[in-house]
């Protein structure tokens, strides 16, 4: 059972309170009705399914109710960072580009 840091509750909470919500930073196309079948398939179905560091969404569904983003290693299941929805894709903590933007968050 994972322990997840909710960036809104600023608290480490049991996985029981959360629901996984798929890969993060897949924006719904602006003019969705205009895109091609291939582009729709890419948007709606195709996934990186990364082995290693992945960006994903969670919802603290039985807590504050908010969706948020997380960086997690899908091999070790360790969270590296969680951050609020709406923020751009955050760099992996400890890498060169990390720390450029300040985000409210933290790893559980």
């Amino acid at each position: 059972m994972l322990l997840i840091h909710c960036p809104y509750c600023r608290d480490d909470r049991s996985e029981l309170e959360f629901r996984w919500a798929g890969e993060a930073h897949i924006a719904r196309p602006e003019q969705i009705s205009e895109i091609s079948d291939e582009a729709f398939s890419e948007y709606f179905f195709m996934r990186d399914n990364t082995k290693g560091i992945a960006w994903e969404r969670w919802r603290h569904i039985h807590g504050c109710g908010r969706f948020f983003n997380a960086i997690r290693d899908t091999v070790s299941d360790k969270f590296l960072l969680t951050y609020k929805a709406g923020l751009p894709r955050q760099p992996v903590p400890g890498t060169e580009t990390a720390g450029v933007e300040t985000v409210e968050g933290g790893a559980a």
Binding site: D48, K51, V75
Partner: protein
């Protein structure tokens, strides 16, 4: 290959089993092959076997990162059935079931296919509608599946609680008598032995690190931790790791890899004669020949390659098992484990050509991969040999995610109104 038989066992018993040969050989890889299969589970080994047996293609290597059958083949709860709803699913699973029925003899390896019956419990009106839809479709398609009353279900599986006071009383069940179980390791080993005997190279402990492409984008071989190995065609059958391997050829697939857990009890004398599944309370259970109750739990919700999962998934499953079979509350869990399932959006498999010439993929079997093993392997061999899908696997191509022609077995079992 020396044939296995009761006489061979007797002969070896007389000389302390000194005469058994290696079941498969472990040769050094050649510089190139006609076909390389990536993934040494049941599907990959089986595809190699059928390439050799049915298509005369024997210059084949199966490349396995770890040990044969160490992925989902050796981690599943070994349920076999073919009573699916859609024609595309019935085609492949029934093809598979027919192969299961003769597999031990075909491979000369006892895979212990045990058609003890798979019973799916119905708990409410919605289940009943859905099951009868399956039963009718199966019957018209020539697949056995029958409706049982609660009393008939209890007769078939005596530990079942059919009391009306249960939280979710049982109002019937669907039974596929030809469904059952098989011995998972034996499937991998049997295919490996038979394929090896036909000249297929089985190369374990070799990790694919890249897929090399030619001037027209076609595959030319694989990079591995033991060097480059050439290939005219590549078939990827890497289950939970399919996305990872396909990315080496810049092909994206609609997969999510999730942990799927299972557990066994301590060994008990025979108490449970069949396989029972319940979708409403999320549980499936059978008893192994060793006497362990084999219980499949649900998938963890998040994508992961860790082969572990949360305790809550196990307890949730046991809640349901003990609700259906209250006499099991004093039974003990002996071991729990996890595998990685590769799940597609419509919960049906992908067997397809890809945008990359001569690269073929077999993935997305989710929780249904074991039962599909012989059928999938057989049709995947056809796909690789002929370059186009077999009649029975035409619906499984990647193109369905563009056109929208999904095979949505999950949606067909839609939640209650």
């Amino acid at each position: 290959m020396r044939k296995y038989s009761v006489f061979a066992v007797a002969r070896e018993a007389m000389r302390s089993h000194k005469g058994w040969e290696q079941q498969w050989t472990s040769p050094e890889p050649r510089s190139s092959y006609d076909v390389i299969i990536i993934g040494g589970g049941g599907h990959g080994l089986g595809a190699a076997y059928y390439l050799a047996k049915e298509h005369g293609i024997t210059n084949v290597a199966v490349i396995e990162k770890g040990w044969l059958g160490g992925g989902n083949t050796g981690r599943n709860t070994t349920i076999i059935r073919s009573n699916y709803l859609y024609e595309e699913s019935m085609d492949i699973y029934e093809h598979s079931l027919k192969l299961w029925e003769g597999l031990s003899q075909d491979l000369n390896y006892n895979v212990m296919y045990s058609p003890r019956g798979v019973m799916m419990l119905s708990h409410n009106t919605h289940d009943m509608q859905s099951f009868k839809r399956h039963i009718n479709a199966n019957r018209l398609y020539g697949i056995d599946n029958e409706w049982l009353t609660p009393e008939e279900a209890k007769k078939f599986c005596p530990p079942l609680d059919i009391s009306k006071t249960a939280r979710y009383p049982i109002n019937g069940a669907a039974l596929q008598k030809r469904g059952g179980t098989a011995r998972h390791d034996a499937v991998a080993w049997g295919y490996a032995r038979a394929a090896s005997d036909r000249g297929v190279h089985i190369i374990q402990n070799t990790e694919v690190t890249g897929i090399r492409r030619g001037p027209n984008g076609e595959v030319t071989g694989i990079e591995t931790n033991r060097g480059f190995i050439g290939a005219k065609k590549i078939g990827v059958s890497a289950a939970g790791h399919s996305s990872v391997v396909m990315q080496m050829a810049d092909v994206r697939v609609p997969l999510t890899s999730n942990p799927l857990q299972a557990l066994v009890s301590e060994p008990l004398k025979p108490i449970f004669p069949c396989v029972v599944m319940s979708n409403t309370v999320h549980a499936y259970i059978s008893q192994s020949d060793k006497g362990e109750l084999v219980i499949g739990a649900g998938t963890d919700q998040y994508h992961s390659y860790s082969q572990t999962g949360g305790l809550q998934i196990i307890t949730h499953t046991l809640d349901a098992i003990c609700e259906l079979f209250p006499i099991f509350r004093r039974v003990k869990m002996m071991r729990q484990w996890g595998g990685i399932t590769d799940n597609t959006p419509d919960r049906s498999a992908i067997q397809s050509v890809t945008p990359v010439p001569n690269l073929f993929v077999n993935c997305g079997w989710g929780t249904g991969g074991f039962k599909a093993t012989p059928g999938s392997a057989n049709l995947f061999a056809w796909l690789i040999a002929k370059g186009e899908p077999h009649r029975l696997a035409q619906g499984l191509t990647l193109d369905r995610f563009r056109t929208g022609r999904l095979i949505d077995e999950a949606a067909a079992a839609a939640v209650a109104h």
